[in-house]
């Protein structure tokens, strides 16, 4: 779960990290209220992606009218596929200096890595490419967390020795997001040093491991529902499906992530565009197939669906029956191609044919067939 800026800041504040005063606004009037309380504010689009500044999602408001106008312009704006649902109005900071502080999971090292750089305010990936030495790194032992001397070394390595005390204290607090909240990535960029020497989080990103939701019900409850972007992904999540929207017109269902991904690849190879990734998991139960089909058919762009399942435990004839029932229940009229393999796959194919569904002999053949059918606009 990627938290929005204001949510991430709430969490960081709970760990003792200083944040500027700020208020969420969903309407121009709320922005005016925030202005009257906070004075000049930055009005910031709340979306779980970077680059909102360049996209026009951040505006400074020095008057109540400017605040009102900023909200009117920003809310509803589309930023990298996310429609902005609300803004965060935050007291403007008197910036002396900008620093980068964050952590992420280093997959190769199979460890968390803390990152500190004096080059704050820039995209850290860009810093990593252009000035790799400008980023100091620390791999804390996951049981011990970062030790004081390691944090000091990190800060000195980053050339920030003059801020050693406040920075080591702050990074120690930031790190608590790992044991306390199962954070995978946190980023305070910029970490602002104000003209009077305070160190305060200018922006904040925080990603919580979805696998740890059972340990952090309070986070899920508080932040889980605010924004999910894509409506099909929201619906799929409710139905416990692993679903990713992709923008094409061919719905895809597969069982197993690798199988599903390779199905997408085949559809593109055949000249089509997948509308989604939808992994229904190891089995291929009728109910799950129906849920997946239902979500895919919500999307008016979808012109046809390809189902690719390997019958592991479930037998081919049962998978076929389930697909037929799902189609009938949903009164689906769009082209449907099914490729299945596994035990009793021949019986399964026969059932499909009897019910007017064309089985594909191989995944590649099936991919070509659905592309052909959706291009032609033919109904199966």
């Amino acid at each position: 779960m990627k938290l929005l800026e204001y949510q991430a800041k709430e969490v960081l504040a709970s760990l003792g990290i200083p944040i500027p005063p700020g208020m969420v606004a969903r309407t121009p009037d709320e922005a005016v209220a925030a202005f009257s309380k906070l004075g000049p504010v930055a009005v910031k689009a709340q979306v779980p992606v970077g680059g909102r500044g360049k996209a026009g999602g951040i505006k400074l408001a020095k008057t109540a009218d400017e605040a009102r106008n900023a909200v009117a312009q920003i809310i509803g704006m589309d930023i990298k596929g996310f429609k902005v649902p609300l803004v965060y109005c935050e007291a403007a900071l008197d910036i002396e200096r900008e620093i980068y502080v964050g952590f992420t999971v280093d997959r190769d090292a199979r460890a968390n890595v803390l990152l500190v750089s004096a080059k704050g305010g820039m995209d850290i990936e860009q810093v990593a490419e252009e000035l790799p030495d400008a980023i100091a790194r620390l791999y804390p032992n996951p049981w011990r967390g970062p030790l004081d001397f390691q944090l000091a070394q990190l800060v000195y390595d980053a050339g920030l020795g003059d801020l050693a005390r406040p920075l080591t204290a702050l990074i120690k607090k930031l790190y608590r997001a790992i044991p306390d909240y199962d954070a995978l990535t946190a980023e305070i960029n910029p970490l602002v040093v104000t003209k009077n020497g305070d160190v305060i989080a200018g922006d904040a990103k925080l990603e919580i491991d979805d696998n740890s939701a059972w340990r952090h019900r309070e986070l899920e409850q508080r932040y889980g529902s605010v924004l999910e972007g894509d409506p099909y992904e929201v619906e799929a999540k409710k139905r416990s499906l692993t679903y990713v929207s992709l923008g094409g017109d061919i719905g895809i269902i597969g069982n197993g992530a690798g199988l599903c991904m390779s199905t997408l690849d085949l559809v593109q190879r055949a000249g089509g565009q997948a509308a989604n990734f939808c992994d229904i998991g190891g089995g291929a139960k009728a109910e799950v197939v129906e849920n997946a089909l239902a979500v895919i058919l919500m999307n008016p762009e979808v012109k046809g669906v390809l189902i690719n399942v390997f019958g592991g435990i479930t037998r081919g004839d049962e998978v076929a029956k389930g697909i037929v029932t799902a189609r009938d229940n949903l009164k689906m009229k769009l082209p449907l191609v099914v490729r299945m393999s596994g035990t009793r796959e021949e019986e399964g194919r026969q059932i499909l044919r009897q019910n007017g569904i064309e089985p594909g002999a191989s995944a590649w053949e099936a991919a070509q067939k659905i592309v052909e059918l959706t291009r032609a606009g033919v109904k199966a």
């Binding site: 992606v49 999971v105 997959r107 190769d108 199979r110 460890a111 968390n112 990936e125 032992n141 996951p142 049981w143 790992i178 044991p179 199962d182 995978l184 491991d209 979805d210 696998n211 740890s212 059972w214 340990r215 692993t242 990713v244 992709l246 597969g254 069982n255 197993g256 992530a257 690798g258 199988l259 599903c260 991904m261 390779s262 997408l264 690849d265 085949l266 593109q268 190879r269 997948a274 990734f277 992994d279 190891g282 399942v309 390997f310 592991g312 435990i313 393999s341 596994g342 035990t343 191989s362 995944a363 590649w364």
Partner: protein
Amino acid sequence: MSILLDSTTKVIVQGITGREGSFHTEQMQALGTKVVGGTSPGKGGTTHLGLPVFNTVADAVEATGAGASGIFVPAPFAADAIMEAAAAGITLIVCITEGIPIQDMIRVKDFLREHPQARLIGANCPGLITPGQAKIGIIPQRITAPGFVGMVSRSGTLTYEVGSALSAAGMGQSTIVGIGGDPVLGMTFSDVVQLFENDPATTHLVLIGEIGGSVEEHAAGLIARGSRLKTVAFISGRTAPEGKRMGHAGAIISGNRGTAKSKEEAFRKAGVAVAETTDEIVGLLR
């Protein structure tokens, strides 16, 4: 011959009395796997599927001499189960459980440094099978045939597909290892490839990767330094967009890292044939 597992390996199942544990223990037994017991806290002293049940792995190891364990416990308990197995002296730990928090696995990996005897496969993996001999996990026996092809994969059903195709083409397998789809894994491609290199019965290798991370690149690097195996690699997710998790927590492209392109290029550079679809694998391997 085979790697990691054969018909003599004594195996226990952690979580043997659960639904998943029970079902797959029976499947493992059906293949002939030497399952010698299982654990289920509070059920120590009872019998399940004709096998003794113990409260702890230490008890099970002491009583049975087991050297391998398959873990089928729910995600909140899985990290602890892995550490318990390692501390009890188990040398091959196969964790099928999916959905383990990444920070748990990072702590587990550190814990395992103190138990270097323990090899971990997974978590979130289908396990491994030595066709005709034994399996730990959930890979269906019927897609396999004994033979000379080593297989190692990050995917589940995709592996079954490829396995089926190989078996149908008369190319049996020495061992099939599913290393799992999580970002923080136990054994990586490189670890498994190294074992296949040292297994005289394995002459060919199929490597099924996917987008995200760089375990494929590392394996390619290893192979580039010299390999006696005829190898074919396949990467799924060529058309996946950046920043979207494709099912597996580990299958995500960030920036230019973890793309199918970089993985395929690494393999080609290592002299490994790259299949563009799974259908091509059998042909390229011949």
